[in-house]
Amino acid sequence: MSANKTAVQQPSLPTLLAVQRAGVIQTDVKRCLVCRECEVACSLAHESECNPELSRIRIDANDFVAGLPDIRVCKQCDWPACYYACLGKWGESAIRIDERTGARYVDENLCRACGACVRACPLTPERPVIFDKKVGKKRIRFKCDLCKDRPEGPLCVEICPGKALTFIPAEERRK
């Protein structure tokens, strides 16, 4: 009986670990035109240069292989493994939860360049959505932040000419 009582008094694991839900960029590969405008817009907005290798969203397509292209962008998980991995390893997660959008984003000043988030991500290694860039000697990680500082919402969604991207806010997202 007493054991049961203790369990009731302590917050359950799900309560302890719960984080605010996030919006998400929904992709429709049938509408993707493989123009990669999203990639270059993303890098311009976040890194002030036009460079698909610094984009938080990636388009994969091979003209010589039949099939539709792939759009890789963070799914903003309800239970973000990247966040827990960083939290568990360092005590303070460099993956932060944005208050307005719920976006799981990397605080670049906090990132220790350990790569725990990348390894924890369920999309790794087949379809990676957490990338790295060299800052000084460190390989800082970066990922989609849903353009959290942009009131109009994610830039890639706005610029996509094929309308392959849709932003779903947290409250409208399917449970």
Partner: protein, 654 residues
């Protein structure tokens, strides 16, 4: 300015004879020559002398990006190709270009352009990556099509590698061999695939992660978000379908829509994948764009795949060679090729509409014949109809060419109301593209004419039987502001107001040079009309704003237009000094365009056209008697050294 933005700062110079790779500072040429075609033209003016053959090692092959390439500016993935073009008849310094992703990737690999000279002893390819370049052995790739070459180089250098290559046609120096990238984009016109073949250069593979730094990231982002997305043509009338039928089908395993890199402008472009062939077992993948073969669906995909894989310019085959062969049969010069009858219509062919479809088997046979120079006929046809007509049938097929080609170009009529390739401009509006054809070194549609015929004309309230969305008052007011005369939009069928034809011809030609130098796409630039503004005038200063934001050189619309004019005059000077261009040759082109227009049956009246050409030369600052630029004009364009060069050649007007 100590730091360059927009430009990477380095142009790759490759000497295949000596096997050496070096770099040239872009800053030596910009901002005066902008980039892309402008820089290529300047280097060609300095280094290419008269008398160089297109397929000689001395010819230079330019593959140029510009300051806007690889940025967010829409249409910025293109690469401009320049050099002495073997398809031109005779060969002259000219230009071509392609979309896709290669141009942008070249910038990310650290270069504003590649210029190739000399001839390698053995087949080689160029591997360009992250600021470095090396010449590598291509023995294993020689003989492979462009599809196989691309896949092989991706296996070696990674799946993100972007490749341009010549196919078997380029290796065999077909004068209309293209430079192909992936399935759907090629520098088609000009025959630059043969220039690669003549240099033993199989391919150029690029990859890089260097990125393009821009002077004003926030400004560029705002400009690109504000840039209208209405496309080149006005919105279709209610109920009309914007795209061809095939575009509207549901994407799936066998079809998807595609675009060139970094472009938001609507432009029909799709990819058919794994489609069973009609004549060859197996499946075929091919892109589908503005040109096509007149045949069945399956044969079309198959033939397109072959065309791209062999590295041929399908435009020439579909709109030039097949119609010419049908005409030749109608005139009793040939019946069959390899036992396959050339199909012909009952009436004599007068324009493209009369040409009848061909079978998949016929296409397959013809494509193999020209790509591999099979037999005497294939060997002759591999140089394109204009060259073939001199060798075949005792020269009797040559006069038949005139309906299809202004022979000087070796390229079919296009958007000038002749023959039927391109849409439907009506008199007097087709005088504008005719003026552009008369002074250019190639089919001007690809960078300069589309802006007028596919954009301006489609907004006008009255254009033949077609009606655009504007009122006459709106169109007049905008034309007055943009061109300086309201008569540009006046449909009265007359040769009066010659400046109303010459001014738009000059304006769009100069803008075309900007498109080729920045480098953007003519599907995106320049717009004159807009449905999003109150007065219906588009922001014609957009290119100069994009240029300023990317490079940090604050440049007004007028200043940048002067840059376009500078590039145009420089190309004219090369054509005059190296290839004997003059009013006489311009006039020969006009004489080639005197068949009844396929749209309205109006015939170009040369007597009334002559004073219009005078007006054109005067507005250009050229001497109407010779067609040569004047020193005053060239010096006003900061082209003093070009004036000196022309004077030394005895080809400068006072």
């Amino acid at each position: 300015m100590s730091e360059l933005y927009g430009w990477t700062g380095k142009i790759l110079r490759v000497d295949l004879t000596g096997g050496k790779v070096s770099t040239v500072d872009t800053a030596a040429y910009v901002p005066r020559f902008i980039g892309g075609l402008g820089v290529a033209a300047k280097i060609a003016w300095d280094e290419l002398r008269p008398g160089v053959d297109a397929l000689a090692p001395e010819n230079m092959l330019f593959l140029m990006a510009g300051p806007l390439t690889g940025t967010l500016a829409s249409g910025s993935s293109r690469v401009v190709v320049a050099g002495i073009a073997p398809q031109q008849h005779p060969s002259v310094f000219s230009r071509s270009g392609m979309g896709g992703h290669w141009g942008a990737e070249l910038k990310y690999a650290g270069f504003d352009g590649v210029m190739v000279q000399g001839k390698a002893e053995k087949p080689v390819y160029l591997w360009v990556h992250d600021g470095e370049a090396e010449i590598r052995d291509a023995a294993e790739l020689w003989g492979t099509g462009t599809y196989g070459t691309t896949s092989a180089l991706r296996a070696t250098h990674g799946p993100k590698t972007r490749v341009i290559s010549c196919g078997q046609a380029g290796e065999r120096l077909s004068r209309f061999a293209c430079i192909q990238t992936e399935t759907g984009n090629a520098a088609g016109q000009g025959g630059f695939g043969a220039v690669m073949g003549s240099k033993n250069l199989k391919a150029i593979a690029v990859h890089g992660a260097l990125g393009v730094r821009v002077a004003d990231p926030k400004g560029l982002l705002a400009l690109c978000l504000n840039a209208s997305r209405e496309g080149q043509s006005p919105p279709p009338p209610p109920g009309a379908r914007r795209w061809r039928g095939w575009w509207n089908q549901e994407p799936g395993p066998n079809f998807r829509r595609r675009k060139c890199g970094f472009c938001i402008t609507p432009c029909s472009d799709g990819l058919f994948m794994d489609i069973p062939g009609e004549t060859v077992p197996g499946v075929h993948t091919a892109a589908w764009q503005c040109w096509g073969y007149s045949t069945s669906f399956r044969a079309h995909v198959e033939a397109r795949a072959m065309t791209a894989d062999f590295g041929l310019n399908g435009w020439e085959i579909s709109y030039g060679m097949i119609p010419w062969l049908q005409m030749c049969r109608q005139h009793g010069l040939i019946d069959k090729i390899d036992g396959l009858e050339i199909p012909i219509p009952e009436k004599l062919i007068e324009n493209l509409e009369d040409v009848v479809p061909v079978s998949g088997a016929f296409l397959n046979m013809l494509l193999h014949k020209v790509a591999f120079r099979e037999g005497e006929l294939g060997d002759a046809l591999a140089d394109g109809s204009c060259y073939a007509a001199e060798r075949l049938f005792g020269g009797k097929g040559a006069p038949l060419l005139d309906r299809i080609y202004p022979r000087r170009f070796g390229q079919t009529n296009h958007w000038n109301a002749h023959w039927g390739t391109g849409g439907s401009p009506y008199f007097p509006f087709w005088l504008v593209p005719v003026l552009q054809w008369v002074v250019d070194s190639r089919d001007p549609a690809s960078d300069s004419t589309h802006q007028f015929t596919e954009h301006v004309l489609r907004y006008l309230p009255e254009h033949g039987p077609e009606r655009g969305p504007l009122t006459f008052e709106q169109a007049r007011a905008v034309c007055e502001k943009v061109y300086g005369t309201p008569y540009v939009c006046d449909p009265t069928p007359t040769y009066d107001h010659p400046e109303a034809r010459a001014l738009p011809a000059i304006f769009h030609h100069n803008r075309g040079m900007l498109v080729e130098s920045l480098v953007l796409c003519d599907r995106e630039q320049t717009r004159v009309f807009s449905m999003l503004t109150e007065d219906r005038k588009a922001d014609t200063a957009l290119m100069s704003k994009l240029f300023s934001a990317c490079t940090g050189y604050e440049t007004s619309e007028a200043e940048l237009d002067r840059g376009g004019e500078r590039v145009f005059n420089l190309l004219r000077a090369i054509d005059i000094r190296n290839h004997g261009r003059s009013r006489e040759i311009d006039w020969q082109v006009a004489q080639n365009l005197t068949y009844p227009a396929f749209t309205d049956k109006v015939v170009l009246d040369l007597e009334q056209f002559a004073p219009m050409l005078d007006t054109y030369y005067e507005l250009r600052g050229w001497d109407p008697a010779t067609g040569y630029p004047t020193r005053a004009k060239l010096e006003a364009l900061e082209l003093g050294e070009v004036a000196d060069g022309l004077e030394a050649a005895g080809k400068l007007s006072k």
